[in-house]
Symmetry: C2
Subunit: 363 residues, 2 copies
Amino acid sequence: MSFIEKLKPLAKKVEEEIRLYFDEIIEHVKPLGEFPLRYYSDTGDYILRGGKRLRPSLALVAYDTVKGSEKEGKGNITRASLPLEFLHNASLLHDDVIDLDELRWGKKTFHVQYKDWHIKHANDLLFKDPVHFGVSMAILAGDLVWSLGLNAFFTSGFKGDALIKAVNYFNTAYNEIIDGIILELDLTCRETEVTEKGYFEVIRLKTAVLFEKACLIGAILGSGTEKQIEALSNYAIAMGKAFQIRDDILGSFGVVETMGKGADSDIKTNKKTILIIKTLQEASKDQKKILGQVLGKQNSTPEEIDMIRDIMRETDALEYAEKKAEEFVKIAKTSLEEAEPPLEKKAMDWLIELVNFVVERAY
Amino acid sequence: MSFIEKLKPLAKKVEEEIRLYFDEIIEHVKPLGEFPLRYYSDTGDYILRGGKRLRPSLALVAYDTVKGSEKEGKGNITRASLPLEFLHNASLLHDDVIDLDELRWGKKTFHVQYKDWHIKHANDLLFKDPVHFGVSMAILAGDLVWSLGLNAFFTSGFKGDALIKAVNYFNTAYNEIIDGIILELDLTCRETEVTEKGYFEVIRLKTAVLFEKACLIGAILGSGTEKQIEALSNYAIAMGKAFQIRDDILGSFGVVETMGKGADSDIKTNKKTILIIKTLQEASKDQKKILGQVLGKQNSTPEEIDMIRDIMRETDALEYAEKKAEEFVKIAKTSLEEAEPPLEKKAMDWLIELVNFVVERAY
């Protein structure tokens, strides 16, 4: 059975819990009237659109690795895993506004969806700017989804210090993701060269910490030991970095059909990925000239894109990125061995399969 | 001694704690580099710009009303009051983007501040749209301030169920404020008439619940009884409504010099305040014609504004609003008496003075 097959039942469990949770929320919102009801319901639909549900699944598995024997009363770990999916979506909602992205899971981003809704209803509305209306609704949706995510903890049945620590991890993840976005904005909007060190700090904050917090939340709610929690933390940070490097490779070498988005977007936007950083470092004078002409050129031709891909191969930047990802895979696996008492075998195997999948996946 | 004089030492205490907290935060951010450091520091300056610090002060006083004898270990209630000020500011940061406001406490709003920063540094930046850059930085700042606010709870020393309840109140306030903004957007952007009922629901969610949660957080961290918490909740909701009605009166009848903003803005934007709702209800045919011409007219003349004010007086809408505010003042005061055991006398007197001040204030 492929890893994706193994992920499916967990993803399904999480999605069922999201539906259940939104049923409760919608019941509570009904008295506010038609528009708030539609708004909440659109927000729920957005979260249910797609995604691998990797973060909440990771919390469920981490809970199992420590054998999930809560000291402080049994809680619903699926409910308590939702905040991770909600935080991820809250961050996407605001990110899509910041990056002016128009598509998410093959559908309109939230701000575009509400821009279009506004245009359709413009005759009944006093608020006259559809673009700004869309942006406003997406800002609020991000805030709302975060808040609903946090609230899921309080309806999970977990209690006491473990719950406080889980909420604290969750909030720290949010803070770190924001730091990552600020750092990335800073690095990518300046003309100066981005270093590999800067890149790794950005992907740690923007991507790896949320995987880490997923593991920590699962482990703390399952009453894991300090050594178990440390092992899972090290695993997840390394796995998250491997995940992002693979994302960056797919951003230049992925197959459009399986990814649902262009595999040339990183080149067209001159995104400071490890591939592009390394290519720029290792390029010859002639190659640098081509890179300077094509990187960041929104309307570059398929031939130009292929030239950049060739340079990425010729400079060994592609090989370098793949090797780096493999290094993190090794760190991730070794880290798991350091837990005391050892992690539950079946759940730990799942984590190992996950990190293998992360660097092999085509989407 | 006027109430404002009595508020000052509390506000000062809160501001000192904000400074202390930001010193800790800045220390933690330094390794991220120059831009994140500047960004955090600008965020701190924004929070420290101004405001009466009413919400955290209310938490401090509520803590005193229940005699603040924590069952679960002594915490720093001033630190635990900061989330309320941070949430208020987070909400202002996003609100200013949504409302396209340019001034806050007599200075540039955050999105305008970063738009101007971008224009000044445009030569060094790849990110080319200053307005969108400003909006992006303000979205992130709102997220950041919320997250830093929540984190203050975890550095306050409070523990256990009381802390969990405080965090839960805090998050509920956030959710309710978002509901209020959505409801208000809905009500004000439709051509249909806004009812008084709709208005009261908006001000409950947008304004009153944060005062309420300030009281609840103070009382729960001070180990107040259920009856005490209920009394404080009812007090704060009524006080908050009186507060907003007074705000609305000042929005049409305030003195520019003491308010730091135009006392005609509500008329120029046709904000659905109780004054405007009641005026529209009670106006004669001729008055309605004038209202239709002037309300919402951004470039209306001082003479036109005065005509609207006259109609507000002639229709008794002004008197009606003042009477409504007085009704809520009475409810607020009566509610305090229902606490069991009774609230501590001196702190309770402060709450009574606050609600008197709320409807008398000129700014």
